[in-house]
């Protein structure tokens, strides 16, 4: 599905990462592989360290912390918020929506529209599309887009497929109406037939968690996990990304008459360094233009990786400069989404620790 918007802009990005760091080297002994093999993989995939939320801390806690930081520093006013979108796959409860919980905790006005969206790796772009659609309403002038995931408790510590890369984080993106008539274009695709390539099998209504689902078993590759844990068919996801994403980006550029040279940065979801380098090679762009350093510094926090990439790599440069960027998210769903947008002249762009 193709989308086109104008007179909208992002005015600030804040990323919240837990203070607690877990290093890959400290967990090598968890895995059923040789140390030499794991260390080679570390270099190739960019496994170094990740941020993990303390026990009991949920996605909404990271969001609340970040929102209060913005309120306390006069970067955002409660009464200005017309809509609150939370994109997460780790809600506080099945019901009610976590955005409603946050609405209460943050003391937002009764008119503020709240919605949860259950999306992951493409969640930043899906959230932006939702925000832009809300801004088409005459009564909505400012939308707060929250991307947050605390999925580390759902990952088996003995699963080398997932554990080294999954981190926790939240981001707050302010999206507003603008007088500048700049076109924003996006393309998003879904492949529901492969929806379970990335999955937590038990814990929902289809397969409630029981003592049976908590039993840890070894898979054919030597990883240990239970049905309550996140499972990823890494090969399928890898091939899907490298087949679908370059094609989508190339088409989005050509159909809008934009060359790769005109794009300052390709800011992509951050599954691992290897996949992003292959993506850059396929697109024939430099690694500097397509940063791949989020997994090694923070881990992969699903829909939060693109805002983390923005606030880590571009940070204060975005306060006084403007860049033409291609955003691209891909993964769980399976979903792949890309967007061409100008970003810059932000009110804030930084990372804070919870």
């Amino acid at each position: 599905m193709k989308f086109e918007f104008d007179n909208k802009r992002i005015t600030g990005v804040l990323t919240v990462v837990p203070h607690n760091t877990v290093k890959f080297d400290d967990e090598i002994s968890n895995y059923n592989f040789s140390e030499k093999q794991s260390k080679k993989l570390k270099l190739i995939m960019g496994y170094e360290e990740k941020r993990v939320a303390p026990k009991g801390v949920c996605s909404s806690d990271l969001c609340e912390y970040g929102m209060n930081y913005l309120f306390d520093n006069n970067l955002l006013k409660r009464e200005e918020i017309d809509a609150l979108i939370l994109v997460t796959q780790s809600p506080d409860y099945f019901m009610p929506a976590t955005s409603n919980i946050l609405h209460g905790k943050l003391g937002l006005k009764k008119e503020t529209f709240c919605i949860d969206i259950s999306q992951g790796c493409s969640g930043f772009i899906i959230g932006l599309i939702q925000a832009f659609m809300l801004l088409e309403q005459k009564n909505i002038n400012k939308v707060v887009l929250l991307n947050a995931d605390v999925l580390s408790p759902k990952v088996s510590k003995r699963d080398r497929n997932s554990n080294p890369l999954i981190g926790d984080a939240a981001s707050i993106t302010i999206v507003e109406k603008s007088n500048k008539n700049e076109k924003i274009v996006a393309d998003i695709n879904f492949d529901g037939l492969n929806a379970l390539c990335l999955n937590i099998p038990a814990g929902g209504f289809r397969m409630p968690s029981t003592m049976e689902t908590a039993i840890i078993r070894e898979d054919e590759a030597g990883n240990f996990r239970s049905l309550d844990n996140l499972v990823m068919k890494g090969d399928d996801v890898f091939n899907f990304v490298l087949n679908k994403v370059p094609e989508q980006i190339e088409n989005l550029l050509s159909s809008n008459g934009v060359t790769k040279g005109e794009i300052d940065y390709f800011l992509c979801h951050q599954p691992n360094k290897f996949m992003l380098q292959k993506l850059a090679d396929k697109l024939t762009i430099s690694y500097e233009k397509l940063p791949n350093n989020i997994v090694e510094n923070f881990g992969n926090a699903s829909g939060v990786t693109i805002p983390t990439c923005i606030s880590f790599n571009l940070n204060e440069n975005l306060l006084n400069n403007e860049y033409k960027v291609c955003l691209s998210g891909f993964g769980i769903g399976l979903t792949w989404a890309s967007m061409l947008i100008n970003i810059g002249n932000f009110d804030f762009c930084k990372i804070i620790e919870y």
């Binding site: 093999q37 080679k40 190739i44 030597g222 890494g234 890898f238 091939n239 996949m275 380098q277 090679d281």
Partner: protein
């Protein structure tokens, strides 16, 4: 090229006895992480970047299929 490919596989997986005749994927000898490791080493050794679309189990099932895939990606 063949000697280099065999040496790289033997270095990464010294436990595989008959590299020349093994069916790495069919016999369950290589998993996806082994393949990723091999791709990174082939890229470095041959000065290429193997196309992501070519990183499939079929292309890594035997020495012959690996060599064919490497040639397709510009290795000499």
């Amino acid at each position: 090229m063949r000697d280099k490919v065999v040496a790289i596989i033997q270095d990464n997986r010294p436990d595989i006895d008959d590299v020349e005749h093994a069916e790495f994927v069919t016999d369950g000898l290589l998993d996806s992480f082994d393949i990723v490791t091999l791709v990174a080493e082939f890229d470095k050794t041959f000065g290429i970047s193997i196309d992501g679309a070519d990183i499939t189990p079929d292309n890594f099932n035997s020495i012959d299929s690996i060599i064919e895939m490497l040639k397709k990606n510009g290795a000499q």
